[in-house]
């Protein structure tokens, strides 16, 4: 008879958290930065933690990288406990923080050499690895210059090189592209993708750039007020949670009103708005009006609406259906737009997040 011992999954998760919680106390006020996070990340995944400033993304990352002890809950990273086996965790992860990893008074190459020694790599192996990274991150001309003389983009690339010196199997990046110009952001995304493709590295990054999470991650975890509110592929999130916008422009404002009334049959729960047609030049208001409504799966709805309107003699002059974005997902889930969600209500957690950097454990 076959024994009934439970079969373990083929690969153990690279990250596993149970009820991971972090509270900060500031001026006798307790801020819940992360509340009971349960998370599992498997080998080779590329995961983005997305959320507004102060949502708890960085605090989560700081706990997983042993920089902050959790208030409650547990987490295993690369098979080791983040509070009891910190040095074993540290030896197995790479971390690229929000700041500049290289000392300002140091030379770029010297920092790479030090970094390898921190992980116990031999001098020769570190030197070879430094050469490799300097070449692949396009730092050849500046690696032997003082860090303080490098440009922002060069420093950020050096940060990435520092995080990769010991070829970690698991890499954490905290807001990697903040402060980078568009070209360097694309450049960084290419490096992260290449890392995945070539070495199968597991990557966990935080970002508040929607397009970055969308373009880069295979899995997006949306965090708000310290809690996980959604966890899926970008496409899955959009399919499940996002409404997007439909705009139908009419040359005649009366037609727009009639069309809006007619559309109510198709999308009864979503009232359509009637707006003047925007004029980019601002010189004169164009005639007519446009009908704007939000609907699930707007691009698939559009042809049906057009046919119907045409039958009724109300063919619009122009029609657009936006593809849903992750911002639409966030809006659907929280009622707020991610672009302005980092406002006053999360300022406290934000401050705690920022100060946490220097908080003695």
């Amino acid at each position: 008879m076959i024994s009934t011992t439970s079969t373990a999954p083929a690969t153990a998760p690279v990250i596993r958290t149970q009820g991971l919680t972090k509270q900060f106390t500031s001026r006798k006020q307790t801020v819940d930065a992360v509340r009971g996070l349960d998370l599992r990340v498997d080998e080779g995944e590329l995961v983005a933690l997305l959320g507004p400033n102060g949502a708890g993304k960085s605090t989560t990352l700081r706990m997983l990288t042993t920089l902050l002890p959790p208030t409650a809950g547990t987490a295993q990273v690369a098979g080791f406990d983040i509070t009891r086996q910190r040095s074993a965790v540290r030896a197995r992860i790479g971390y690229i923080g929000q700041g500049n990893g290289a000392g300002q008074s140091q030379r770029g190459r010297d920092e790479l050499l030090s970094q390898g020694r921190c992980y116990g790599m031999s001098r020769a192996a570190t030197a070879a690895r430094a050469d490799e990274l300097i070449a692949s991150l396009d730092l050849t001309g500046v690696a032997d210059r003082k860090v303080s003389t490098m440009s922002g983009g060069q420093r950020r690339r050096l940060d990435i090189a520092l995080g990769l010196v010991h070829s970690p199997r698991l890499l954490f990046l905290d807001e990697p592209s903040t402060g980078l110009d568009p070209q360097n952001r694309v450049n960084l995304q290419e490096h992260v993708r290449a890392l995945r493709a070539r070495h199968g590295t597991t990557v966990v990054l935080t970002t508040h750039y929607l397009d970055e999470a969308d373009a880069l991650a295979e899995r997006v975890i949306i965090i708000d007020h310290g809690q996980l509110i959604a966890d899926d592929t970008p496409a899955g999130l959009k399919a499940r949670h996002a409404d997007s916008e439909l705009v139908l422009a009419f040359d005649d404002a009366a037609d727009a009103q009639r069309a809006a009334d007619r559309l109510r049959q198709h999308v009864p729960d979503r009232p359509a708005r009637i707006e003047p047609v925007p004029d980019p030049s601002g010189a004169r208001r164009p005639p007519g009006a446009q009908v704007v409504l939000r609907a699930a799966d707007a691009p698939r709805l559009l042809p049906r609406l057009l046919r119907d309107l045409e039958e009724a003699g109300l063919a619009p002059a122009a029609a657009t259906a936006a593809s849903p974005t992750l911002d639409d997902v966030f809006l659907s889930l929280t009622g707020r737009s991610l672009r302005d969600a980092g406002g006053a209500e999360s300022a406290d957690a934000d401050a705690a997040d920022a100060n946490a950097k220097e908080t003695p454990a």
Binding site: Q23, T66, T83, D110, G120
Partner: protein, 275 residues
Amino acid sequence: MTTATITETGGPTDVAREADADAPTGRTTLLTDTVTVFVRELRPMLRDPFSVIFSMIQPLFFLALFAPLLPKADDGGSALQWFVPGIVVMSCLFGTSMTGSNLLFEIQTGSHERMLVTPLRRPALLLGRALKEIAPTFVQALIIVVICVPFSFDLHVGGVLVGLLILSLLCVGLGALSYALALASAQQTWLFWAVQQTLLFPLLLLAGVLLPLDDAPGWLKALSAANPLSYVVDAERRLFAGEVLAADTLWGLLAAGAVAALGLVVGTRAMSRAS
């Protein structure tokens, strides 16, 4: 100015450092970790030796603008013979007390955080830094001595070497204390400079670096006796005069050793707590 003090609630602590025999990249020890940090700290100085001069500008001013005002010694010898050992200690005090600001800057820019995520042992982050303080202190002492030799300053090499040994203990201790202060000031930079500037001159004056305290009132002598730097300065004066086998040498060694022990205990504890 109000500053938010943020304390963490709860949080278990790293009870013991587990052996990590199968670390993926290589074995390290406290010694190799300390060497790693030491070499990293030393590199900017080797790359840019002139940086050593900047932290000793003030002692050099005292040497150039204050020493000429001193009366000749009782035995008719040069006042430099008395003054130079004190200036060497002063240069050590100025340089090492400021060194925490480098760590403070690294805490703010992110490079300290980067090192905290590596498997470096926390005490090594302090030990390597504190030990590095020996290098600029020695270079500065050498510069001062070389400058003074042409001006009727008698050089006693044996004494100076023993003097440097005592000085190295002192600068490791003072450097470690400066780093501990930096860690305590991580969230309010002004605190570091407030404490450093407040302590600097009392320590200097009470050690009798600029003027002898022989004729000082009792309370001043008592304060001076409580200042470990006083014993180091006395020892350095004997040693720079070539008197190695003196009771003052032993007292200086003990005082510098005490500062080193205190600094390393306070500093390594602060560094372990801060991460």
